[in-house]
């Protein structure tokens, strides 16, 4: 069946039957999922579970951006990559699996550096949602600004060691990343998963929850995590749902008189590089 048809095939009706029978989804929600196009930035610890559950749920077109290749040290948490994928681009490894899982949808692997080329892709495509599954502050500011400029909700997850955080930016008059963090963190206070470590299942919880928020956005459900931050502590298995500020009217990008109307120099802004790679640490 044509992936752009607004009618579900009988194969699709059976495939998605267990979610179509839910009153929150039903057939209209399934069609909305099918007609959606999303961008997932990062095919690592968050992007793997997020893309897996969104492909399984029937999101019609999924673009995945990552410039890295699969390494052995990724496999404990980046669960779309297997041993024989080591050395392949992560987006290739991921998209092969996702296509085998669901041939009804379109998976577009983008083996590009998010940092240098993403602006073009967002300009060319009308994404219904963007998932921030990246690993560094400059890219997080870049994605935020692009999403605000193009008016796309940004489903933002992060994880480190036993903790995770999740929120949706620029949705339903909620705040954007810059509303919360107008100034970047000092570069030496930012720790990535390569340096600090992370438990795979902690990434997994946040990545799957990113998929859930995306499904809720695409099907126009209530209860999206906008203006709220979910704080997960895996060491106690506790979650806190805290209330965030509203959109800040003086925000440089989403405020009433925005200064930032196109992407700026984020590496200079953050005083940090935007790559995910870390030098291997000898822990022996």
């Amino acid at each position: 069946s044509c992936p752009y048809s607004d009618v579900l095939s009988s194969e699709e009706i059976v495939r998605y039957s267990r979610q179509i029978i839910m009153p929150q989804i039903c057939k209209s929600g399934q069609i909305k999922l099918k007609e959606s196009k999303i961008l997932i930035v990062g095919a690592g610890g968050l992007g793997c579970p997020a893309s897996l559950y969104l492909a399984a749920a029937g999101v019609g077109e999924i673009h995945i951006v990552d410039y890295d290749e699969v390494e052995l040290s990724n496999l404990h948490r980046q669960i779309l990559h297997y041993e024989h994928d080591i050395g392949l681009p992560k987006v290739q490894s991921a998209s092969e699996k996702l296509k085998r899982l669901n041939s009804n949808i379109k998976i577009v692997p983008l083996h590009i550096h998010a940092f240098s080329s993403i602006t073009d892709f967002v300009q060319k495509n009308k994404y219904d949602a963007v998932l921030d599954c990246t690993d560094n502050a400059p890219t997080r500011y870049l994605l935020n600004d692009i999403c605000v400029i193009h008016n796309i909700p940004l489903v933002s997850g992060s994880a480190l060691q036993m903790e995770g955080q999740l929120t949706v930016y620029h949705y339903n008059n909620g705040p954007c990343y810059r509303c919360l963090f107008p100034k970047p963190p000092p570069a030496h206070t930012v720790t990535n998963c390569g340096d600090g470590g992370v438990l795979g299942s902690v990434c997994g919880v946040i990545g799957v929850l990113q998929a859930l928020e995306t499904v809720k956005i695409l099907t126009q459900m209530e209860g999206v995590l906008s203006g709220r931050l979910l704080i997960f502590d895996g060491s106690e298995t506790t979650f806190r749902n805290v209330k965030l500020r509203q959109r800040v009217t003086t925000c440089e990008v989403c405020g009433d008189n925005p200064k930032i109307k196109e992407p700026v120099d984020y590496e200079q802004f953050c005083g940090a590089r935007a790559h995910d790679k870390v030098v291997n640490i000898n822990i022996l």
């Binding site: 610890g45 502050a137 480190l160 903790e163 963090f181």
Partner: protein, 97 residues
């Protein structure tokens, strides 16, 4: 006055790796506001490298302050008047993925 001061997202590493602190603030003439608490924390709880927690008489960029699970921007930030049994959480944002 008794309050609970909490740290998360890695901020606890500056506080002996302890995430929750039961704190009794000493009595003083004027009300306790968050600005006073920041100084008190620096003098009494902070174990190392204050520049990773404080900057320009506030918390450093990248740390969110939550008063009873609400963003301190909703409660006048450093000027919020602390109440008995408040739970005040300082959380570093995570960037890993």
């Amino acid at each position: 006055m008794h309050i609970t001061v909490e740290f998360g997202g890695g901020a606890e590493l500056l506080f002996d790796n302890k995430k929750s602190h039961d704190v009794t603030l000493p009595e003083k003439d004027k009300e306790w506001i968050i600005k006073d608490l920041l100084i008190w924390i620096k003098d009494n709880l902070l174990k190392e490298r204050p520049e990773l927690f404080l900057q320009d008489e506030s918390v450093r960029p990248g740390i969110l302050v939550l008063i009873n699970d609400a963003d301190w921007e909703l409660m006048d930030t450093v000027n919020y008047v602390i109440q008995e049994n408040d739970r005040i959480l300082f959380i570093s944002t995570l960037h890993g993925g």
